[in-house]
């Protein structure tokens, strides 16, 4: 029993266009949502052409994978890279090895960046599609990416119209408030990246184990997500996430640090759900994953920027720096309404840079007017010099001995406090 892929009609049109446009081999990504029973492909995008690929017949595997990584950042919850397609003049079986390599490479790269842990019920099959340029015949196979030795399994590829027309959407605006110490001797951006990643992992676990309310109610585990195939039923829902603050191990109460990094603000998170009787817990899972991804992606993007402009940072020698994370902008998929893809706009970028990226990465022709920039407001940079805060006064450094003593006394006090106040709580241990 193979998997079956229900594919939006528009994808057929797109693949046909690609067949006509160029000679040589064309690769690209198939995007959509998996479910245990079947998979939905809602759109496709070709690998952006580079000088090398335009010239010859070869497939630039690294570029295909990198493209997939970047595209995956532009997909909101519920949408992911389902697999790879290739259009050639040759027979399908000649490309199978290439397709296999691409599918595994793409999947490995994308999952290496995710901060959330895979779930038991995740579908691990990815699709490899070959289209014969002359005959337009499709050849569809799947590989189980969890199993490095898996072989190609046959799968159905069926075109259908209006695949996503009744899809639902659940969204929320999630607050982020983190404070991370930086080690005493290492305050450079690379170390900041490491510290932030660890903090984000902990935060991701908090979100994953948080309580999710949809439309103000906690739905039972197996309850169906409201909405679905009925017409005229509202399809967008707001979620609320309740989290329990983290337990701190007593051993790490006090430590010396060379500084700190804080991340505060809010992100708009959303997830799309197929209309085939989805469960409430699927909505919860996809929404939470999107929340974690969007924060992690933006932090990653910012740190990549900082690393490249490191020289500038070193010379400025400022004690305090503020950076605005890019805000999220949505763009509807014209042929797959109501779905949207997204991109991130830095405060110093113009909207047309967003539309350019959408064209390059996702092959979408969008006008500025199509974009939805109202879900988040850009962060306001309130950069100011150190002088303002009273507690940041430069105190004449006391002798090191006294420093340690106060630090230890403070730690003891806080630890004593934690244990004293936990008279009832720690009894259970």
């Amino acid at each position: 029993m193979g998997r079956s892929y229900i594919v939006e009609d528009a994808v057929e049109g797109y693949l046909s266009e690609l067949c006509e446009q160029r000679a040589g081999s064309v690769t690209g990504l198939l995007l959509g949502q998996s479910s245990p029973q079947r998979d939905f492909v809602v759109t496709a995008t070709r690998t952006p052409p580079t000088e090398e690929t335009l010239a010859g017949n070869s497939v630039d595997k690294e570029w295909v994978t990198e493209h997939a990584r970047q595209v995956s950042r532009m997909l909101p919850g519920g949408l992911s890279v389902l697999g790879v397609f290739i259009i050639t003049d040759t027979e399908a079986k000649d490309t199978l090895t290439t397709l296999r390599q691409l599918v595994f490479a793409v999947e490995n790269l994308i999952s290496s960046e995710t901060l959330w842990s895979p779930a038991e019920d995740d579908v691990t099959d990815c699709v490899a599609l070959h289209v014969n340029r002359k005959t337009r015949k499709t050849f569809c196979r799947t590989f189980d990416v969890k199993d490095p030795k898996s072989t190609a399994k046959p799968a159905d590829w069926k075109y259908q119209s209006g695949v996503c027309s009744s899809w639902g959407m659940v969204s929320c605006c999630l607050l982020v408030d983190m404070l991370v110490p930086l080690p005493d001797k290492r305050t450079d951006p690379e170390y900041m990246d490491k510290c932030l990643k660890e903090e984000l992992r902990g935060w991701a676990q908090q979100v994953e184990s948080g309580v999710c309310l949809i439309d103000g109610k906690k739905l039972a585990e197996d309850a169906e997500f409201p909405g679905g195939q009925k017409r005229n039923v509202r399809q967008t829902y707001t979620a609320q996430i309740l989290i329990t603050p983290r337990e701190q191990r007593l051993a790490e109460v006090e430590r010396r640090c060379g500084g700190s990094v804080s991340l505060t603000g809010a992100v708009h998170s959303r997830a799309y759900l197929h209309s085939n009787k989805p469960k409430a817990r699927l909505a919860e899972k996809l929404l939470k994953r999107d929340a974690v991804s969007t924060v992690a992606t933006r932090v990653q993007m910012l740190l990549e920027e900082l690393l490249t402009s490191e020289e500038e940072n070193k010379s400025s020698g400022k004690h305090k720096r503020e950076h605005c994370l890019p805000h999220r902008v949505f763009c509807p998929l014209k042929a797959s309404r109501p779905l949207c893809v997204c991109d991130y706009q830095f405060s110093d970028e113009s909207v047309c840079e967003v539309t350019e990226r959408l064209k390059e990465m996702l092959d979408i022709d969008a006008d500025e007017g199509d974009l939805d920039t109202r879900q988040e407001s850009p962060a306001e940079n309130t950069e100011r010099e150190i002088a303002a805060e009273p507690t940041m006064e430069t105190v004449v450094a006391p002798e090191p001995k006294r420093n340690t003593f106060i630090g230890v006394a403070m730690a003891t006090a806080v630890a004593l406090l934690a244990s004293a106040a936990s008279m009832l709580y720690l009894y259970d241990v």
Partner: protein, 440 residues
């Protein structure tokens, strides 16, 4: 502090949850440190008072926003609903659904107060659009403090309290606890100890100065919390005590756990009775908070005796019996507890020891280990008449080899009242009477 009336079957609301305490101290000036700590506590206060503060009722779909006009979900519950009605929404093992229990299945009301457990959480979502996150990096050598404040508050509600009343009370208790925590933190910067704090509390509540009410181990044990170690506590409490003419019952004070043969996968059938009695005594000292040390194993007991020079090294791992003198030695070595030894040359003499035993339970209140003949037992209490001289002994028998079944243990007399003929009338006995340390 919650006053419970044992005859009233009210409800207790208990909220538990961690609050993250994080701050940076970049100065060693005490005043500035105070400021930063106070500021961090102020942030926590505003968190608890904010609309994002949420209380979820454990094992149920009920969620309450106490600072949003006490907004409750599911919709069927309003702020004016009686607080006790929340019980109907709590899942028991009998049902799977998250909905309301059917009215036919009303639970029996027990005589103990029932507890509604709540978790303290924060709502991490808000209505948007809000501004995207900002990353701020500060470079300053400092001390980073981070810990978790384990909030744990209790309020008692009456049957006429609405959810609105009850939760307003609960939030006050939570705020108060946060204030207390702040006070204690700031105090401890000066280096005071918890002992001072306990003294203050003893004075405040006018409690006697030699019983450690406020040590952590003496925390109230909530009825629906299981003892994780699996031992039975105070099996004697279910017994009916004997009534003697002009007699009074004098019992062990506080809590102990019942240790007996075959527990902890140790087959000590036939030789370990004194060890088990000693374990019962050690459990008493641990559970009243006098010691933090866990109940010692047979090996640890044997090693202690080797350490004090009472036994040779080969004693460890053997199946040799011990007596009251050894019990006294181990209590001293491992728990720093002194004990008195009472010697009786004949079992029949025990009948005349009523007054001394009664006094022991009145002033010390600790379990007594008695060894003689070939057996060791634990005496948990005595019923004694000063005028008639009648006497009964409450015995906890370590020779039991079965499971922790309270019914069996009490029905079959493994924990039970015995008469003077229980003792071997001709054998001599030694009793070890542990002395309670007079500390708080």
């Amino acid at each position: 502090m919650v006053v419970t009336d044992s005859s009233d079957s009210g409800t207790i609301l208990r909220v538990r949850g961690p609050l993250e305490f994080r701050c940076q101290l970049d100065s060693t000036d005490a005043l500035l440190m105070h400021k930063v700590i106070s500021r961090t506590f102020a942030t926590l206060h505003s968190q608890v008072k904010s609309e994002s503060c949420v209380l979820t009722v454990c094992e149920s779909p009920v969620i309450i926003w106490p600072n949003k006009g006490v907004y409750v979900t599911p919709e069927e519950i309003t702020p004016n609903t009686l607080c006790e009605d929340i019980h109907q929404w709590i899942q028991t093992d009998e049902q799977e659904s998250a909905g309301k229990r059917s009215s036919k299945k009303k639970s029996k009301k027990s005589s103990a107060a029932s507890v509604i457990n709540l978790s303290l959480m924060m709502e991490a979502t808000k209505t948007g659009p809000l501004s995207a996150p900002i990353l701020r990096r500060t470079l300053q050598k400092s001390h980073f403090l981070s810990t978790t404040l384990p909030m744990d508050c209790v309020v008692r509600i009456t049957c006429s309290d609405t959810i609105k009343d009850a939760f307003e009370c609960l939030m006050e208790a939570l705020t108060h606890q946060l204030c207390e925590m702040e006070k204690v933190t700031l105090q401890h910067i000066k280096g005071t100890t918890l002992l001072t704090h306990r003294k203050e509390l003893h004075q405040q509540f006018e409690l006697q100065g030699d019983w450690p009410y406020f040590r952590r181990a003496n925390a109230f044990h909530f009825p629906n919390e299981l003892y994780k170690d699996g031992y039975l506590r105070n099996p004697h409490m279910v017994l009916t005590h004997p009534t003697l003419d002009n007699g009074k019952v004098y019992l062990v004070q506080g809590i102990y756990s019942y240790h007996h043969y075959m527990q902890d996968h140790v087959d000590d059938n036939g030789w370990g009775c004194a060890y088990r009695s000693l374990q019962t005594i050690c459990s008493w000292f641990q559970q009243q908070g006098y010691v933090e040390r866990a109940v010692p194993t047979h090996r640890e007991i044997q090693k202690a005796l080797v350490d004090v020079g009472d036994k040779q090294g080969s004693f460890v791992g053997s199946r040799q019996w011990i007596g009251s003198i050894e019990v006294q030695a181990v209590l001293n070595q491992l728990l720093e507890v002194t004990s008195k030894i009472m010697f009786v040359s004949q079992g029949s003499e025990l009948a005349s020891k009523g007054r001394e035993l009664a006094n022991h339970f009145l002033t010390e209140g600790t379990p007594i280990m008695i060894g003689g003949g070939v057996l060791a037992h634990t005496i948990l209490g005595v019923a004694w008449s000063e005028t008639t001289g009648q006497i009964r002994y409450l015995i906890l028998d370590p020779h039991y080899t079965g499971a922790e079944n309270l019914q069996v243990i009490t029905d079959k007399g493994w924990c039970g009242w015995k008469g003077p003929d229980f003792w071997d009338q001709t054998a001599y006995y030694n009793l070890c009477l542990p002395q309670r340390p007079k500390v708080i």
